[in-house]
């Protein structure tokens, strides 16, 4: 392509599409400008500040020695490597009263002619030279002192109990000029220990004004800092070693200087302690001795009583025993007498028995004689009997023999008997009875024949005679025998009786003998008993005597013991009164010693240990400015991205459309044989020109307008004389590069995609993208349920995926911005309610001037006289600097100590935020507000170190971390305060609650209070809350900006996308118009998919918004305030609704465009 034709076409296109070109240029300018400008703001702020610091030679270190510096200290500092300058300064906080009577608390710092560090910026007049000259800070809104013109005279004063003449050479000062100082770039002037604790203004006076011997402050500048930019990491790092060295030097110097004082105080304290201990010991010993004596008396008494009891018991026992003995004696006597009686009876009985026995013996002897007679009689009788028995036996034999002889003599008369026979008979009879035989022989002749008869008859008669005689004899014998038997029996009986009687007598003799022995022993026993009884009687009598004697002795002894005890008691009473008297003095002594010890301890605790080495970071103005710059920097990293994104989006769509529109031309050119590069070069050049000119424009304005505007806003808060807005090459190149790359890429991709097609196709109108089934259609049950138009919308949504993504992202960004804006307000608004309704329960506070006598008492009388007050609690509040561990940085906090912890909970609800657990003041430590604890990474149990306005450093354990939002607080009970500082917390104000806050007349109350000159003023929580709400009211602007940005984003995205949509689908739209779709239906046909996408985008945006909000809150949070992280549900709703509103607005605009589409023309292009 010939250069000429190319450029001709190029310029013509440019002219024809000037709006398009301008729009790309504008949007690029906006995106680049915004990005570059916001990004440049942080470095610009820092550069501006640094320039000021360098120009005024702001010190890198400010070292304060609580004892004042000795010349050798300063010399030592100067000798440290890397020190460029170390200059001494004096300062003094005084009240300055102007001619109108207005009193300011002013920090006077010394100024010498040769001072190079912290050079003041002279606004007007000149610097002080004479001792009664002063320059005060000036510069407009920052303070009231600027109103005092040069030449005004000021009177200096100090609080009661201090002499101004001790420290300053002049009491009145004349203003000779006004200055600004790099040390005071913010409104913060620091804390002091006079007045209400805040410094109103600063001033410079000549060094000659100060009478102090020692230098109080040393300002230090390092050699390297001249080449380093403030706030940079390099700057911060280069201070580390030096800071460490200075701290060590300070510790050594202060330690050496205070060693003697410390030792003396320690010694004194130890002495006091030992004295106190001695006094205590003495007191205790005296008490113990008294107690011992008391115990001894008690013991004596008890012993005495015990003894008496014992003796009395013994006596009683003796008596009882004696009585018992006597009774036994009488019993014994009675027994003895009874025994004697019975013995006597026994003796008599024995005598009787003996007599009886003797009689029986006599009888027995007689009986024996009789018995022996009887035996003899019996024996003779026996002999007779035996003779009779023999006669009888012979008679019997004779009879028997006669009988036989008779039996031998025959009965009949017969022969007579031969002689022989007779002889034989005779012999035979002879044998038996010779008489008979003789008689026969005589009388009878054997030859007589009648002889036999006669014999027989004789024999018979004899026999009968004999028989009879025998019979008689037998009878007689038998009778004699039985008589003998009876006699024998009788004799035996008598014999037995005699034997028995003899035994009896013998037995009787034995028993008698025994009885005799018994009686004899009984007698002996009786005699013994008698003797014993007599002895017992003697003993009893002796015992009785002893007893009486013992009783007498006991009484005597008891009386003596009692007397002794009485004496001891008297002695004890005396000892006690002596002790009581001694104790009082001893206790007083101890109390005094204790107070002295406490004083010594307090002095020890208050002995400084080191220099307070501060870097610039300790300066609230310096660090605040740095924080603000960093905050802007953080914002710069996120918000411009949105604008950049939008710009890129717009460029992309615009370029795409441009290429689309020139399709036919591209096709023609291609058909004519132009190369792809040659054709696309036009669009690339177009995009390049548009975006680069836009970028340059954006950079030119952006680098200036955004930093300038933002810094201008900060100029209200920071006194930096000049803000500079230099261009930043890197940022500019990056922004431009990004912008160019985006537009070029858009142009390239659009033209290349067009150039891919063959000329013939290109010359025809672009075929609409063919329809396609979407995944959703596969889910038959769902798909069937959709209405026809819903199906169509669903298909269209997925038809152009690129557009889908862009819409969702754009709308999500819009919603996210809105939510962030609203959430910002929510989060900060929530602080007020939480701080003043949930944590600070009191309705107001009163401050008093403790330097005035009786201020506290007057406060009591005034507040208890106020009828509107429900209750009040006196408090001590003071400003303290909480030390950040191992660094010179501190955080300002309010130390609040109630006069008593009991009712504290009615005025402050201290609790842990997450667990809502109440925190008690009486846990022996400090309760720290949450933000401060976060900043210092403190937990319960850690130690917190803080410095009061008198530069006394204290450490205390953290007992809890309380939810708190505005500024930092340390709470402790008066006891804890006492323990830590060895001082009693004197109240310097009070908090109070109202009976009815709504009906309270605040101004009347205020007036009544201020009538008392000890009362400095009062503040109602309500007005505090309002005040704070007002300061954060500026956030409305931020929210508004965010809403505008969000709206712009939504509009740009939706407008662009819908407009592409319409352009691309114009035939389709014309067709449905021809089909008779009403306007509303046509719009719906086109917008329905946008509505769906907007919905998706909104939902995604809500999620994104929560994240963005959190980021922004984290970024914007300042050290003194803890922001809430809450987003109210209405904010979600509003964001949603606003997004919807933007979408509706865009759609409304587009509705008009749709109505204007001419069917005939739209369809004609095909012809």
């Amino acid at each position: 392509m010939s250069r000429r034709a190319f450029w001709k076409d190029f310029w013509r296109t440019l002219r024809k599409s000037a709006t398009r070109f301008l729009s790309i240029m504008a949007i690029t300018a906006l995106g680049v400008g915004f990005y570059a400008g916001i990004t440049a703001t942080e470095p610009d702020m820092i550069l501006s500040a640094d320039r000021y610091y360098q120009a005024q030679n702001l010190a890198d270190f400010s070292i304060l020695s609580p004892l004042g510096f000795r010349p050798e200290d300063i010399g030592q500092i100067r000798q440290l490597p890397g020190i460029q300058a170390a200059e001494p300064r004096y300062f003094k906080d005084v009240f300055l009263t102007d001619p109108a009577g207005q009193r300011l608390t002013v920090r006077l710092t010394s100024h010498a002619a040769g001072d190079r560090l912290n050079r003041p910026l002279l606004l007007d007049g000149r610097l002080p030279e004479a001792a009664d000259e002063i320059v005060l800070e000036g510069g407009g809104e920052l303070n009231m002192a600027a109103e005092l013109p040069i030449g005004s005279s000021l009177t200096a004063s100090v609080p009661n109990g201090e002499q101004l003449a001790d420290s300053l050479a002049s009491q009145t000062f004349t203003i000779v000029g006004h200055i600004q100082s790099p040390q005071y770039i913010s409104m913060e002037r620091g804390q002091t220990n006079i007045g209400d604790g805040t410094i109103d203004a600063f001033g410079l006076v000549s060094t000659s004004t100060f009478l102090a011997e020692r230098v109080m402050l040393v300002q230090v500048r390092t050699e390297d800092s001249m080449a380093l930019t403030a706030y940079t990491e390099a700057y911060d790092q280069h201070l580390d070693t030096l800071e460490h060295d200075l701290l060590a030097m300070g510790q050594a110097a202060v330690g050496a200087e205070t060693a003697e004082l410390r030792a003396k105080l320690q010694e004194n304290k130890d002495k006091l302690l030992s004295e106190k201990r001695q006094a205590e010991q003495k007191l205790v010993a005296a008490g113990l001795a008294l107690r011992d004596a008391e115990l001894k008396i008690e013991d004596g008494e008890r012993e005495l009583a015990e003894q008496e009891a014992r003796f009395r018991a013994e006596l009683l026992d003796g008596k009882t025993e004696l009585e018992d003995g006597r009774k036994a004696y009488y019993d014994g006597m009675l027994d003895y007498l009874a025994g004697y009686d019975s013995w006597l009876a026994g003796y008599l009985t024995w005598q009787n028995s003996r007599e009886k026995l003797q009689q029986a013996q006599a009888e027995l002897a007689l009986g024996k004689l009789k018995l022996e007679q009887g035996e003899k009689d019996l024996a003779s009788g026996k002999q007779q009997l035996d003779a009779a028995n023999e006669q009888l036996a012979m008679l019997s034999q004779t009879v028997t023999a006669l009988k036989q002889i008779r039996a031998g003599i025959p009965d009949s008369p017969g022969p007579g008997l031969s002689e022989a026979d007779f002889a034989r008979l005779l012999a035979t009879v002879r044998e038996f009875s010779p008489e008979l035989a003789d008689y026969i022989e005589t009388y009878y002749d054997p030859n007589d024949p009648d002889m036999l008869e006669q014999l027989r008859a004789f024999l018979d008669t004899s026999l009968a005679q004999l028989e009879r005689t025998y019979q008689e004899g037998l009878a007689e014998y038998q009778a004699g025998l039985s008589e003998y038997e009876a006699g024998k029996k009788e004799l035996a009986r008598q014999q037995a009786a005699y034997t028995a009687g003899l035994a009896e007598v013998r037995a009787g003799q034995a028993s008698l003998d025994k009885g005799k022995i018994q009686i004899d022993s009984g007698k002996a026993e009786l005699d013994l008993a008698r003797r014993r009884l007599d002895q017992a009687k003697v003993k009893l009598d002796a015992g009785e005597l002893d007893m009486i004697r013992g009783e007498l002795e006991l009484d005597e002894e008891l009386a003596r013991g009692r007397a002794e005890l009485e004496a001891a008691r008297q002695e004890l009473a005396e000892g006690r009164s002596e002790y009581e008297a001694g104790k009082e003095t001893a206790l007083a002594e101890i109390a005094k010693a204790e107070a002295e010890i406490r004083e010594a301890q307090r002095q020890l605790v208050e002995i400084p240990q080191e220099w307070f080495v501060s870097t610039r970071e300790a300066n609230p103005g310096y660090s605040g400015f740095g924080d603000d710059a960093a905050r802007i920097g953080a914002v710069a990293r996120i918000f411009p991205v949105f604008f950049f994104l939008v710009a890129a989006l717009v460029c992309l769509t615009t370029m795409t459309r441009m290429v689309e529109e020139e399709r036919t031309q591209i096709g023609t050119l291609k058909a004519l044989g132009y190369s792809t590069f040659a054709i696309s070069a036009k669009y690339l050049a177009y995009a390049l020109l548009a975006s680069s000119s836009g970028a340059v424009l954006g950079l030119l304005t952006g680098f200036w307008i955004f930093p300038a505007t933002i810094m201008n806003a900060y100029a209200i808060m920071y006194a930096i004389p000049e803000f500079i807005t230099p261009p930043h090459l890197a940022t500019g190149l990056l922004a431009t590069g990004l912008a160019l790359a985006t537009t070029l890429l858009a142009a390239l991709s659009a033209s290349l995609s067009a150039l891919k097609a063959v000329p013939a196709v290109l010359m025809q109108p672009k075929a609409p993208r063919p329809g396609k089934r979407i995944i959703l259609e596969r889910i038959a049950p769902l798909w069937k349920r959709l209405s026809f138009s819903q199906k169509l919308a669903a298909r269209n949504v997925f038809r152009y995926k690129q557009r889908l993504l862009m819409t969702v992202i754009g709308i999500a960004g819009c919603t996210a911005l809105l939510l962030t804006g609203f959430g910002l307000k929510d989060s900060i608004n929530a602080i007020v309610g939480k701080q003043f309704d949930e944590i600070f329960l009191y309705d107001g506070l009163v401050m008093i001037d403790t330097e005035k006598n009786g201020a506290e008492a007057e406060l009591d009388s005034v507040l208890s006289g106020e009828e509107d007050l429900e209750s009040y609690l006196k408090t001590r509040s003071e400003s303290v600097a909480v030390v950040v561990g191992h660094s010179s940085q501190t955080h300002a906090a309010t130390l609040l100590v109630p006069s008593q912890s009991e009712s504290f909970e009615r005025y402050f609800d201290l609790h842990e935020r997450v667990s809502r657990q109440k925190l008690s003041l009486n846990s022996g430590g400090v309760i720290v507000s949450e933000k401060l604890a976060d900043l210092l990474a403190l937990d319960a149990g850690d130690t917190i170190t803080f410095r009061d306005t008198e530069n006394r450093t204290y450490s205390a354990p953290v007992s809890g971390i309380t939810e708190n939002y505005l500024t930092h607080y340390l709470f402790m009970s008066p006891q804890t305060f006492d323990q830590i500082t060895f001082r009693t917390p004197a109240s310097n104000g009070a908090v109070f609650t109202l009976k009815d806050p709504d009906a309270f007349d605040a101004s009347a109350f205020q007036e009544r209070l201020l009538a008392h000159d000890t009362i400095l003023g009062s503040m109602l929580t309500l007005s505090l809350a309002k005040e704070f709400a007002k300061t954060i009211g500026s956030l409305d602007l931020v929210v508004l900006v965010l809403i505008a940005a969000a709206g712009a984003l939504a509009f740009v995205v939706l407008y662009n996308l819908i407009s592409i949509n319409i352009t691309e689908r114009i035939r389709e739209i014309a067709t449905i118009k021809v089909l008779g779709f009403r306007d509303r239906e046509v719009s719906l046909y086109v917008f329905r998919e946008n509505i769906v996408l907007t919905l998706f985008g909104t939902l995604a945006g809500l999620l994104l918004g929560v994240t963005l909000h959190r980021f922004v809150m984290d970024t914007m949070e300042i050290d003194a305030i803890m922001f809430g992280k809450t987003i109210h549900w209405t904010s979600f709703l509003f964001s949603l609704l606003l997004t919807a509103l933007f979408s509706v607005l865009v759609n409304a605009v587009m509705h008009g465009r749709l109505r204007k589409i001419k069917m005939v023309e739209s369809l004609k292009s095909a012809e």
Partner: protein, 233 residues
């Protein structure tokens, strides 16, 4: 009074400084149920007439009456209703919605009509029962034109206006389409107006209107219209 009557219709277009009389006093009438062919060269104003008749454009002078309604006096809103209920359009390039299937394209028209025909029946009637699930890109030109006709018929319009319906089709396919249109007119009593530059088509028309330079050159009723098959061009 004829079913369709155009009287002294004038339509002007402004092209910069120049005013072009695209239609310059056109008058003709068509009876109900007729198959009319408007024939003329490019730029003769026939499409403009058709657009005016179809309510897509507004005339500058004259009157148009359709079924005793003077549509030339209609507002935009009324014209939309007129197109919606009374007119069926068939274009040269079909103008199907690419993102809808054949059946859905018909449905698109049917859903806004009061007395729509059964969609599937209409599609069957144009002979596309098998292909109704396809997207336009998947159909041939003739098939797409059938879909377009079905879409027009589905609304049960009073008038079927066809602008060069065969212009983008080969002869055979074109004939088939024309046959479909003729059959529609014959079988359903539909008033069909076909615009073409092809004079050969006049043979099959009940009424022929010949235009030239924005004016009606000649109009006549064809007593013996030929069936499509017998026409050659």
């Amino acid at each position: 009074m004829s079913y369709i009557e155009l009287q002294d219709v004038v339509k002007r277009y402004k092209m910069g400084e120049v005013t072009i009389q695209a239609v310059n006093g056109v008058s003709f009438s068509i009876e109900k149920g007729e198959f009319a062919v408007v024939v003329g060269a490019s730029g003769a104003g026939k499409t403009t007439v058709l657009n005016l008749l179809g309510g897509m454009d507004k005339l500058d002078e004259g009157t148009i009456r359709v079924d005793s309604e003077t549509i030339s006096r209609y507002s935009d809103k009324m014209l939309t209703e007129y197109r919606r209920y009374d007119i069926g359009f068939v274009f040269q390039f079909y103008n199907l919605v690419q993102n809808l299937t054949a059946r859905e394209n018909v449905e698109l028209a049917a859903q806004i009509s009061r007395q729509a025909l059964d969609i599937d029946e209409v599609i069957a009637q144009v002979g596309l029962a098998d292909r109704k699930g396809n997207f336009p890109a998947q159909l041939s030109g003739g098939e797409q034109q059938r879909v377009a006709i079905a879409r027009a018929l589905a609304k049960r319009p009073k008038l079927l206006l066809c602008d060069e319906p065969t212009g983008a089709l080969d002869d055979t396919t074109g004939k088939a389409i024309l046959k479909l249109l003729q059959d529609t007119s014959r079988l359903h009593g539909m008033t069909v107006i076909v615009i073409t530059h092809n004079s050969a088509l006049t043979a099959m028309a009940d009424r022929v209107i010949r235009m030239k330079n924005g004016q009606v050159q000649e109009q006549h009723v064809n007593a013996q219209p030929l069936p499509v098959e017998r026409i050659e061009w």
